[in-house]
């Protein structure tokens, strides 16, 4: 069996956030802003409160009496009392006996708003690139600028300059399970069970928003029906807790799919300009300009602009680089992380551009990348040395796959190559508690299995490797933030690298302690014999129970803590002119090939083959790793071809549902070939690199490059809908 959660999942036997229930639980609905921007003049909940079945209705006015400290963090109020910043922003909440009653009551709220001017899109602020350093505006959340070398000089002496302007669409994570939680407030304890990727992250957010000490908020993850970055921060938990405090009853709050589209923080549109100064086949210099819509994000909370912008420049040897971007504040919902946040969009621009440079000069795009790609020891634009990196080997493997495809695929099929890179996010570190009992090894963590297998399979596989025990003797035990060891969450492809490392440390400690209790010298391993954990050293075998102290025998066995300290890469500060840039922890390559057929009459793109070459570092479980690559590619194909949030001039989301926002269906995903490269180690246990995010990164670019190869149509806007392809083909 590949995954130990499979038998319960095929039987529908696990409790997800949407399945949570408690005797007497009320059902809650959020009352939301009818406008994208305005000043709240009146919020009258009297008619809500007098609706049948309603037990509590709360808005900004009720916060003070509900919160022990009278107020939370004024910069992130639970409910706004003045300015409404996006359409659908929660302004109040209601709890009733049934969901139907809560919905009916919510419609009776009286909300009066004085409208304010709406900034719906980037172009409302900057119709074009504002010019370097010229983008000062009240509508800018962040400005980032970094420079390596003398771009002015190299552009002046270039043989030619290649320019491109690219646009990318807003997308949503759309896990099949919407956000859902169940809250209870009893005495001092504000307790919430939630479908979350980060119990401690939710605790931190919730305690700040509600002005409660962190220990007073207890978060427990349920099983999670997919997250993809959307379930990391607190979203529903503060509202559910406030209603539970107001009603003195448990409160269930769950988003509808339409609300999931409107409230989940995800990727918003961007415009990217790239200029490359060329001399022969050398890239003398590159200028990257980025305008990223960050919606109604709060100032200082932008993480994407200064991180992702490096991916636009690409993993290439470039003489001089200038990176500049603005995070533009609009009246869309706030920006948030979505599987490899904003990287597929950046790589779409960067890798489309790289292909254009090569094709324009008559070079094979693959060979051009082969010659220009970073080698180990090269320097990034921000001055980091490139560590172990499977890029070169990945491109070599792509060449072999392309040769085979060219023989196998019919004439007219286009083949596109794109490379991406990524770095495992470490977060703020983390800890696990490992317990060795007479018959099993238990890993205690607050983290839920969100689907990737990183917890249920990845952590177990690390413990297997280190201890020698078989997987059936190793179990994950999920706990809550009151009892469990701290960890910052299942995101950033970090679980194996951070928590897996902590597991390795803890299990190693247990083995060392067993070594002190056993006679002789040499390595200690564990095995399972007749259902018992047995320690071996050389030829000797000893049941671990006989090695326990009296206390260990009376309690739950031997205990060890393992810890991971979050860390990132160092960048050269003098290259940063302004804004927050981040170093890479490791260098993870993803080299992809797409083969497409383009309908010459309709512009419809069909992906017929796909190959993903993954720089894994070290694989602890091959089927689970491969499944991450396959899933990432499929999600990337959605970003490439169909997924796009559509916004009105009033910043209203026009397609909040699966009938109008198309995610890939079964027959739209071709067979995916996966090749794994090991031997370029990352920072995780045994040299693992993050696996969840890299496989989505090059997908839109690989498809766009394949479309250009098949048809000559260069589409510089995501997604590649039939209409955009047809326009590029001059059919429209």
């Amino acid at each position: 069996m590949i995954r130990s959660d499979s038998p319960r999942k095929v039987r529908g036997a696990l409790e997800y956030g949407v399945d949570l229930d408690a005797p007497g639980a009320l059902h809650a609905v959020l009352i939301r802003s009818p406008v994208a921007h305005g000043r709240l003049r009146t919020l009258d909940l009297e008619r809500v409160r007098s609706s049948p079945g309603v037990v509590a209705a709360i808005g900004a006015a009720e916060l003070a009496e509900l919160l022990p400290s009278r107020r939370g963090d004024p910069s992130r109020p639970a409910f706004p009392s003045e300015e409404l910043r996006y359409r659908g922003e929660p302004v109040a909440a209601v709890a009733a006996r049934t969901l139907g009653e809560a919905r009916a009551a919510a419609l009776r709220a009286r909300i009066e708003v004085d409208p304010l001017p709406i900034v719906a899109q980037i172009e409302d602020v900057f119709p074009e690139w504002p010019g370097s350093g010229e983008g000062e505006s009240e509508h800018v959340n962040a400005h980032v600028l970094a420079r390596q070398g003398d771009t002015e000089r190299v552009f002046a002496r270039a043989d030619r300059v290649v320019r491109g302007k690219y646009r990318t669409a807003g997308i949503v994570q759309m896990p099949l399970e919407p956000h859902a939680c169940l809250a209870r407030v009893e005495e001092e304890s504000w307790r919430v069970q939630s479908s979350t990727q980060s119990p401690f992250g939710v605790r931190e957010d919730t305690s700040a928003i509600l002005g409660l000490p962190e220990e007073q908020v207890v978060v427990e993850a349920s099983w999670v029906g997919g997250g993809f970055g959307g379930k990391g921060a607190a979203l529903l938990e503060p509202y559910a807790l406030l209603l539970a405090a107001a009603s003195h009853r448990p409160v269930k709050l769950q988003l509808s799919y339409a609300e999931e589209f409107e409230l989940s923080r995800s990727t918003l549109p961007s415009t990217i300009w790239i200029e490359s100064a060329m001399s022969g086949d050398a890239i003398l210099g590159r200028r990257v300009r980025l305008l990223l819509d960050t919606g109604a994000s709060l100032p200082g909370r932008d993480f994407a602009t200064g991180y992702a912008i490096g991916f636009i420049a690409g993993p290439y040897r470039i003489g001089a680089v200038e990176l500049e971007g603005y995070a533009v504040k609009t009246n869309k919902p706030p920006f948030g992380p979505h599987r490899a946040p904003f990287a597929p969009q950046c790589v779409f621009a960067g890798e489309s551009h790289t292909d254009e440079i090569a094709r324009e000069a008559g070079w094979d795009p693959l060979e051009f990348r082969e010659r220009t790609a970073w080698r180990v020891g090269d320097e990034t634009p921000l001055g980091q040395k490139v560590g172990p990196f499977g890029l070169e080997e990945g491109i070599a493997r792509a060449r072999a796959i392309r040769e085979r495809w060219r023989k196998e695929l019919p004439q007219g099929t286009g083949i596109g190559l794109a490379v991406g890179f990524w770095s495992t996010g470490t977060g703020a570190g983390g800890e696990v508690l490992v317990r060795l009992g007479p018959t099993e090894l238990v890993i205690e963590t607050v983290e839920a299995e969100i689907g990737s297998g990183s917890v249920i399979r990845g952590l177990v596989a690390v413990a297997e490797e280190i201890s020698g025990l078989p997987r059936e003797a190793i179990r994950i035990e999920r706990t809550d933030t009151a009892r469990g060891p701290y960890d910052s969450g299942v995101y950033g492809s970090r679980t194996l690298g951070a928590l897996g490392h902590a597991v390795r440390v803890a299990v190693t400690k247990l083995l060392e302690e067993l070594g002190r209790r056993l006679p002789g010298r040499g390595e200690v391993r564990l095995e399972l014999l007749d259902g018992k954990c047995v320690a071996s050293r050389g030829e000797a075998r000893t049941g671990v129970e006989s090695l326990f102290t009296d206390t260990e025998r009376a309690t739950s066995g031997m205990l060890a803590r393992g810890r991971h300290y979050g860390r990132g890469g160092e960048i050269l500060a003098e290259r940063v002119i302004t804004g927050g840039f981040f170093g890479y922890t490791d260098f993870t390559a993803a080299v992809h090939l797409a083969a497409v057929a383009v309908d010459a009459e309709t512009g419809q793109v069909r992906v017929v083959r796909y190959a993903a070459i993954a720089d894994a570092g070290h694989v602890v479980d091959a089927p689970t790793y491969r499944a991450q690559v396959e899933g990432g590619v499929a999600m990337g194909l959605g970003e490439a071809l169909t997924e796009e949030t559509l916004w009105s001039a009033e910043a209203e989301l026009m397609n909040p549902g699966l009938l109008d926002y198309r995610v890939p269906t079964l027959l739209e995903i071709p067979p995916i070939e996966v090749e794994v490269i090991e031997g370029f180690p990352g920072a995780g246990p045994g040299g693992t690199k993050g696996g969840g995010e890299p496989p989505i990164i090059p997908v839109p670019a690989a498809v766009a490059n394949a479309v250009a190869d098949a048809s000559g149509a260069r589409v510089r806007e995501l997604p590649l809908t039939p209409e955009r392809v047809a326009r590029a083909l001059k059919l429209l």
Binding site: R3, D5, V10, D21, A627, I669
Partner: protein, 155 residues
């Protein structure tokens, strides 16, 4: 306003008061406690709530409970008692044709229904029959591998 409703769910007759406008999805999950059937989009677009009614795959979010009548209902909780259902679940476990598992009950129920309706169905017709079920995690790759094993070998 509710009216009494009799249903045959997983071979067991049940009687419960249900309002005329209630969806079968909600009756199963919240009145009968059968939460293996998952609530997804509630608009018939995702397939997570698929159950068998009279042996046919149906979306319980678009079915009113009072519409069902005497047709037997099979949910994921009842699949184990069905030989085809058991085979489908075994193959999904063997291939790990799942990740978060949220869409999985819908997939195994739909596939069981397809295999029962069309014994000996080809792989391609089974895949076509599953297009109404969305999965956001697997890229459908492991699900395809499971379907390959369940389909009759091509002649």
């Amino acid at each position: 306003m509710t009216s009494p409703l009799r249903l045959l769910v997983n071979g067991v007759p049940v009687e419960t008061p249900v309002p005329p406008s209630e969806r079968l999805l909600d009756t199963l999950r919240w009145r009968l406690g059968l939460r293996g059937t998952k609530e997804g989009c509630r608009t018939g677009a995702c397939g997570a709530c698929t159950v068998l009614i009279g042996g046919h795959p149906r979306l319980s979010c678009l079915t009113l409970s009072h519409q069902v009548g005497e047709e037997p209902i099979l949910t994921v909780e009842g699949l184990e008692s069905d030989p085809v259902g058991r085979a489908v679940m075994d193959v999904f476990v063997a291939e790990a044709a799942l990740q978060c598992g949220y869409c999985t009950p819908g997939f195994v129920v739909a596939l069981t229904g397809l295999l029962k309706e069309h014994p000996g169905a080809s792989e391609s017709s089974l895949l076509e029959g599953l297009q109404g079920n969305l999965c956001r995690c697997t890229g459908y790759s492991s699900i395809r591998r499971a379907v390959t094993r369940l389909a009759e070998p091509a002649p």
